[in-house]
Amino acid sequence: MDFVNGHAAVGNLKVFVTNGRTKTADEWASEIMEKLMHVAENAPAPLRDQAVAFRDKIYVLIRDNIELALKQEREWILSQR
């Protein structure tokens, strides 16, 4: 009889702490990118470079939109006072 190996595995959580403040748009964007895509260290260099370049563009897009959302929310709250 043949047996096929399989296993259950878990990924590692990272803990991120801010003291005396909430997270910045940069930190939110970094966190989202961690969930969105992973670029393997051992990927072929041309593919890895393209993936990193793509990741950087998405990061900026997310960060800028979070900043805009935060700004608009604050302006809205202030306008309601």
Binding site: G6, V10, G11, N12, V17, E34
Partner: protein, 154 residues
């Protein structure tokens, strides 16, 4: 030795073929992430079976100061339906557990299924004590994919 060791609970392996857990987005179960104190008296890892293991030893972070006992609750909509790639399956949640206006110390966590008698599905070690003071503590889940996801069968 007391403390947390990152592990896929053995009981969870046995529960998977019994269809105890449903990770389907929106229609699946509700999962929670409870934090353990900095210096727990219990030992948590592959042998952990249930959230009650944590509470039974009084090892959960105390209620208050930004933490509510029971832990962070994902909605079913935040489940990421298990996917497959190659010979592996993987799944996760769409948002990271986070505690704001928080002041406490923690050294590990247990993720459990609150829709299925609080059975444990993940035990995580933070590699030491993590302290937050009047701030935000976030557990960043790894990228949901083969070889990286928080929960995988390969």
């Amino acid at each position: 030795m007391a403390g947390f060791t990152t592990a896929f609970p053995t009981s969870f392996k046995g529960e998977l073929p019994q269809a105890v857990h449903n990770f389907t987005a929106s229609t699946g179960h509700v999962f929670k992430c409870a934090l353990g104190i900095a210096s727990p008296t219990g030992t948590y890892g592959a042998a952990t079976t249930n959230y009650s293991n944590l509470t039974g030893n009084s090892d959960e972070v105390a209620n208050g100061s930004g933490y509510t006992t029971g832990g962070f609750a994902w909605t079913a909509a935040q489940n990421t339906t298990p996917a497959t790639s190659g010979t592996g399956a993987y799944w996760s949640w769409s948002v990271n557990p986070s505690w704001t206006s928080a002041s406490f110390s923690t050294s590990g966590c247990i993720i459990y299924n609150s829709s299925a008698s609080n059975k444990a599905v993940y035990v995580g070690s933070f590699g030491g004590t993590q302290t937050v003071t009047s701030g935000t503590l976030t557990l960043t889940l790894p990228t949901n994919g083969v070889g990286t996801s928080i929960l995988q069968l390969n």
